[in-house]
């Protein structure tokens, strides 16, 4: 709002100065533009108005209006294309978190042994968002943990004087690629074992992303307490994460269909869960050991 009044004052000064000189080539229609509120089709008309006061040149005004309408059209097109691939509503469910949930979930990831009830709660067939249900997976923690891990890796490399910007990008993309590979492997396993569950791709992405928290803790302890601290933290976070994954997948796979299905399928489900859990310490070690020397 302060901006608007500043530029408005400028514009009026500009017009007062231009009024005594008769404009030789163009008619001064800037006053005419500002008096037509509905003249622009773009929703960015407010922005176009404020900048018009600044320029006062009719050709630039037309260009500005054209540009803003093109921009809004492009934005609509991008939204439409994005909606075809990623359902934004489903994605919003995973980011509906609050501070209390994040704190409790982080505590659960580090110490899951005393948690009693692992069921995801529903309300009328719709799963509750993470704000209201501690057991619901979310994508906020994995995203933030991934970014923190990349920054921490950069810092660890810098402390050892091995830092360069390319290494940072490589570290980030390596971690991302391993998570994507794990999600694809889990999807393949779920398809082959015909597990009927509510686990969508985003759920698997969330559960795979929780390992970044373990990685951060291991690297941090390694930086503070040296190599021994790193291995202790690695063992602790790995076992906590393995317990967490096994309990979560068991309730997720058995939850909607409490009978469990025939015996071979249950065995396959069990193997899948155990395989996913066993993979976690390996990947945590693989992605962090080169940061601790």
């Amino acid at each position: 709002m302060a901006y608007h009044s500043g530029y408005g004052a400028h514009g009026s000064k500009h017009r007062v100065r231009a009024a005594p000189d008769p404009p030789p080539l163009f008619d001064d229609t800037s006053g005419g533009y500002s008096s037509q509120p509905g003249g622009y089709p773009a929703p960015g008309a407010e922005v176009a108005f404020n900048v018009n006061h600044l320029l006062g040149d009719p050709v630039a005004n037309v260009a500005m209006a054209y540009g803003s309408s093109i921009a809004s059209h492009g934005k609509d097109m991008v939204h439409k294309e994005l909606h075809r691939f990623v359902s934004v509503n489903k994605l919003k469910y995973f980011f509906a978190v609050d501070t209390a949930y994040v704190a409790k979930k982080l505590g659960l990831l580090v110490f899951p042994y005393t948690h009693q009830n692992w069921e995801v709660q529903y309300s009328r067939d719709v799963p509750l968002p993470p704000r209201q249900d501690l057991n619901a997976p979310d994508l906020y923690i994995p995203t933030m943990a991934f970014i923190t891990y990349v920054l921490l890796a950069g810092m660890a490399l810098g402390i050892q004087k091995r830092f360069s910007p390319e290494v940072l990008g490589l570290c980030a993309s390596t971690a991302l690629v391993w998570v994507v590979l794990e999600v694809l492997a889990l999807l393949l396993g779920i398809y082959l074992a015909t597990v009927r569950s509510d686990l969508s791709t985003f759920h698997l992405l969330a559960y795979s992303g929780y390992k970044y928290v373990g990685m951060i803790l291991s690297v941090l302890t390694g930086l503070l307490f040296g190599s021994d601290g790193y291995y202790v933290a690695l063992a602790w976070t790995s076992s906590a994460l393995m317990y967490f994954i096994v309990r979560s997948f068991r309730t997720a796979a058995l939850g909607p269909d409490s009978m469990g299905g025939p015996a071979p399928r249950q065995r396959l489900q069990l193997y899948l869960t155990l395989g996913a859990a066993a993979f976690q310490p390996l990947i945590i070690y693989w992605l962090t050991f080169h940061l601790i020397r």
Binding site: L170, S173, T174, L176, V177, W178, Y191, L192, R265
Partner: protein, 88 residues
């Protein structure tokens, strides 16, 4: 192993291609994995082997259609602009 996103795409393409080139008549029938040999019962559980056979057949169908177009950038050696990594 330091991965870049581009190497992930390359690896995925090679794996999918490896599944797609398994010949139905010359090879899969001889080891009993042909798609007309497996669809026995219409019971509840398809079983892992029939799921695998279905997957192989679907991959082959998809690769013959869209997949060939997706493989063209890799085969032609096009450089895709962006932060994909040192070995683009």
């Amino acid at each position: 192993m330091a991965f870049t996103l581009y190497s992930l795409l390359q690896a995925a393409l090679l794996c999918v291609n490896a599944i797609a080139v398994l010949h139905e008549e010359r090879f899969l029938k001889n080891i009993g994995w042909g798609t007309d040999q497996g669809i026995g019962g219409f019971g509840e559980e398809p079983g892992i082997k029939s799921q695998l056979m279905n997957l192989i057949r679907s991959v082959r169908t998809v690769m013959r259609g869209i997949g060939c177009l997706l493989a063209v950038p890799q085969l032609e050696g096009w450089k895709i602009p962006g932060p994909w990594g040192p070995c683009n």
